[in-house]
Amino acid sequence: MSVIEVQGLTRRYASRRGIRRRTSFEVEAVRGIDFHVEAGELFGLLGPNGAGKTTTIKMLITLLLPSGGSARVLGHDVVADAREVRRRVGYVFGGDRGLYERLSGLDNLRYFSELYGVPPREQRIRIAELLEMVGLSGRERERVEGYSRGMRQRLHIARGLLHRPDVLFLDEPSIGIDPVGARELRTTVAGLSAAGTTVLLTTHYMFEADELCDRIAVIAGGRIVAQGTPAELKRAVVGGNVLEVEAYGVESATIDAIRMLPGVSSADVEVLGHAQLVVVRAAPGAEVTSAVLHEFGSVRVGRVSTREPSLEDAYVELVHRA
């Protein structure tokens, strides 16, 4: 039995438009998705803003009712057995809100221990253990208002783990944290997963997903557009190498011409200060470097490099297609 089983899960929101003539319409945030997560797996839900990641998580943790389809967590239905699900899952979201500012970190943890029915005797040990794990020992008696973003995020994680959940849901946990903090966070999450906790993580940082996740589902426009291990996704989608050309003053006509070349699957331009970076993704096995460079004609060209496709390339490709 999978730990998380999702079948045809759908969520619509009623929304209103206009002030004078109010028309109601429905927004379909999640349009019938299927996936499953096995015990101990670290599963990533990847997608751009508004793709339906958070809505999916909120249905799985019983905060939102699905409009259609079904979802089971640890064998419990998220609608019929909401309380059983709540008892056994942990939920952490990114950003620096969702904490009681006027209470100390310790009191925040104590409060949620009560809500999750952690027995008083166990509480002390558990809280100390978690503070140690997220590196907040010694700061726990300070009020949260004085915490940095990174500290808040770590406190959030400790909070989510108080009741030793079997499944942990992390909704964009690394948002707004500095690179060092984000790396520490990844280490923590990897450690949890290694210790046997099933983790479902949403993010839009590719390297994060690439580094952490056993399997990934890419979600765009409310649908899952691809699913598999990071390596599978890269192979399936991109396959060929990526050519990057630094150039000065490329016209859009040139890019269009490159796109038409045989063996080129996509071409995009990023602006880098004075220069432009032309990213050309080749079809598997195709060799396009000389043909592409020929198209540049008299345009001044800087560094040229070829690399293996990254998960980001796969992701861009998938989202473009969807």
Binding site: Y13, A14, T54, T55, K58, I61, T62, L63, L64, L65, R83, R86, R87, V89, Y91, F93, G95, R97, G98, L99, Y100, E101, R102, L103, D107, R110, Y111, F112, E114, L115, Y116, G117, P120, R159
Partner: protein, 265 residues
């Protein structure tokens, strides 16, 4: 989850969330709002009564001191519930398996105590300044009447809190509740001097029966037996608002899951 868990959620959790969400717990607010203001409300109306050539100071002392309990009762209650939304902790509360009845009911306990203490302080200080004395034998029953009033007023507070959670105007609603209680509950104007329809409404508001009982007791000569009925009615009225408030919270939670309201999504 056991009853013990529920009790801990109510008592320990209730106190924690009061500390967490009621942002008045600093001397800079406590002294002006919980001591100076109620005292001056007592003095102001006592002098207004004198200038109108009306009832004695005792009438206003009891009325205004007891009515002022509604400030902590309504404001603290709506803060500790409605502010979950502002601090984005509401989703976290709602995904917890904690039973909602002890969760929300527990938050009223510190509030009741707060309202009670504020009233007692206003009674004592106001009594000293206005030279109103209460027979020694009446002190305990009077205290009980004040406590009962604070309990039932907190029931109204929970109701306001539930509405405020949805409409996001906690302070405005609490102020309006305070104003209505001031006008209707026989605080400064006896029910007999109110237009008939107002007196009818007054019977369905908290504080009305509590203040009446407190006045009877403060006058001396009658014990709890004489006001027992009034105090039970007071509790009953409070319980009605409490029940409606809890039902509303329950309804809003289900609504939130269905329609993504309350910022849970």
């Amino acid at each position: 989850m056991s009853i013990r868990t529920d009790l801990r959620i109510a008592f320990v959790g209730g106190l924690t969330s009061y500390r967490a969400l009621f942002n008045w717990l600093t001397p800079w607010v406590l002294v002006p709002v919980f001591i100076v203001q109620p005292l001056f409300q007592v003095l102001f109306f006592a002098f207004v009564g004198r200038s109108a050539g009306l009832a004695d100071s005792r009438f206003y002392l009891i009325g205004d001191a007891v009515q002022y309990a509604s400030i902590p009762c309504v404001f603290a209650m709506s803060n500790t519930i409605a502010d979950e939304r502002n601090s984005a902790t509401l989703p976290l509360i709602l995904v917890s398996p904690a039973r909602r009845l002890p969760l929300f009911l527990g938050r009223s306990l510190p509030v009741v105590l707060n309202g009670f203490v504020v009233s007692v302080v206003a009674l004592v200080l106001g009594g000293l300044l206005l030279r109103v004395s209460v027979p020694v034998g009446s002190v305990l029953p009077l205290t009980l009447a004040v406590a009962v009033s604070a309990v039932s007023c907190t029931g109204l507070g929970l109701f306001v809190a539930a509405v405020a959670l949805r409409v996001r105007e906690a302070a405005t609603l609490a102020n309006i509740a305070f104003g209505l209680l001031l006008i209707f509950c026989g605080v400064n104007v006896p029910l007999t001097a109110l237009p008939g329809w107002m007196a009818v409404i007054a019977h369905w508001l908290p504080l009305t029966h509590g203040i009446a009982a407190a006045r009877t007791l403060a006058a001396g000569g009658s014990g709890l037996g004489a006001v027992g009925r009034g105090l039970w009615t007071e509790l009953g009225v409070g319980a009605i608002y409490l029940a409606i408030g809890l039902a509303l919270l329950n309804y809003f939670e289900r609504e939130a899951r269905r329609r993504a309201t309350l910022d849970v999504a």
